[in-house]
Amino acid sequence: MKTAVIPSIVRTARRRPALGDDPNAYPGLDDRALIGRVSERDPAALEALYGRYGRPCFSLARRVVRDEQHAQDVVQEVFLTVWRDAGRFDPARGSFASWLLTMTHHKSVDRVRREETHRKRATTSDLLDDRPDPGPAVQDEAWSTLRRERVRQALSTLPAPQREALALAYFGGYTQREIAGLTDTPLGTVKTRMLAGMKRLRTSLTGLNDGAVDLEGTP
């Protein structure tokens, strides 16, 4: 079972006091319990989930669509989908964080593909930019910073062509054929690089979670 890569994310996400999150609301409930309450039309449970994941969802959407307003639209759409279709989450198929962030990513990519103007601004160097965050909020959040640096470190261990292919697809929303064109590489090579990169990344990230003591579902 390789789904243990997410728990540390879940754990650290819970530590963050977040917008709209009442720290006294459902302190003992894990994500699965919360999404269960959402399916029973409990808006406070939805807000608790937003408190845990609103920031990473917004950060991801903003990175992909590269537009503040579009990012807000995406996140609103994501949480509205959670509200309407909470029953679609299947814990047997992965963590809630994975489900939510996959949805955020897909909706962001769908939007950026419709918004070619924004997409053209996303150059390869932009997507691979790994400068440390200057924001004061980040400085105050040691956990968040540590996690981000560890993921970036895992990315940095990938061979440059693999990292580039994954970054262009994940952060740029480019298809494999588009990446082949952008990097002047045969399509088959792009596919091979992506697979190799994902395998390496998974190994690296699994290693990062060796010290995790908190599994999803345990608040």
Binding site: P43, R62, Q72, V75, Q76, R93, G135, R148, T175, Q176
Partner: protein
């Protein structure tokens, strides 16, 4: 390269939402019965979720939560909503917020409806025109009704699916008219990757084709896809090229 390796590569592209349409159809068709690929996709998604945390962490604006609360209230699940007999101010505001693409298609549908009606002087020339006029009218009413969910389908041409309950209305433009030996198929994909036919339809001549009946999906449908298939019925699995797709 072995078949297994090929699908391993496609699983990564699928998880990244980076496959070309033809590869997407190939993989989704394969995914239906392959537990190994289902697991691979799930694993890739778990890993990719980590990448979200590699981005610069940005606090969402306070107004976003307010917007989400309002959207939840407006979603129709927070209380009873009025029947869609006529437009009320709140519904009009929602219409204004629709994306340009949707507005364009909806406006086209309304325009075609208006043209049809004006062209025949409120008396439809024949049953076909009458049926199309009614379909357009029903689709536009559905689009504007509370609880209706719009799904933009992109690819070849342009389409908007209007999902209300199990029923799907399609407003399409840009797909070629199909002959008597082929049919368009709307496929529904569940979260587990299972793809089944939701119904078939034909493209007629004219700017916009509206499909108002015969397309039904399950509550767990996550994605809609359109292909054109040989014959007049939906095959067991998609064989034609993927023309349109959209996430619900």
């Amino acid at each position: 390269m072995s078949v297994h390796e090929r699908f391993e590569e496609l699983a990564v592209g699928h998880a990244l939402n980076a496959l070309e349409p033809e590869d997407e159809v190939t993989f989704l068709t394969h995914l239906r019965g392959c537990a190994a690929c289902e697991r691979a996709v799930a694993d890739h998604r778990e890993s990719l979720a980590h990448l979200a945390y590699a981005t610069d962490s940005v606090e969402p604006p306070a107004a976003l939560l307010t917007r989400i609360r309002a959207a939840v209230q407006e979603s129709g699940t927070a209380g009873p909503f009025p029947a869609p007999v006529r437009l009320e101010p709140r519904r009009q505001r929602r219409t204004i917020r629709m994306t340009t693409a949707v507005v364009g298609v909806a406006a086209s549908a309304v325009l075609v409806m208006a043209l049809l009606i004006s062209d025949v002087g409120l008396h439809f020339r024949n049953r076909d025109l009458q049926a199309r006029g009614q379909a357009i009218q029903s689709a536009v009413t559905s689009l504007l009704s509370p609880g209706a969910r719009r799904v933009e389908l992109s690819g070849t041409g342009q389409a908007v699916a209007i999902v209300h309950g199990h029923q799907v209305d399609l407003v399409l433009a840009g797909l070629p008219v199909n002959d008597r030996n082929s049919v368009y198929v709307l496929w529904q994909q569940t979260a587990s990757g299972r793809v089944t036919a939701a119904g078939t339809f034909d493209m007629h001549g004219g700017q916009v084709t509206v499909i108002h009946q015969g397309l039904n999906i399950g509550t767990d449908t996550q994605r809609l896809l359109v292909t054109r298939e040989a014959g007049r019925t939906a095959p067991v699995s998609a064989a034609g090229p993927l023309l349109l797709s959209g996430t619900i």
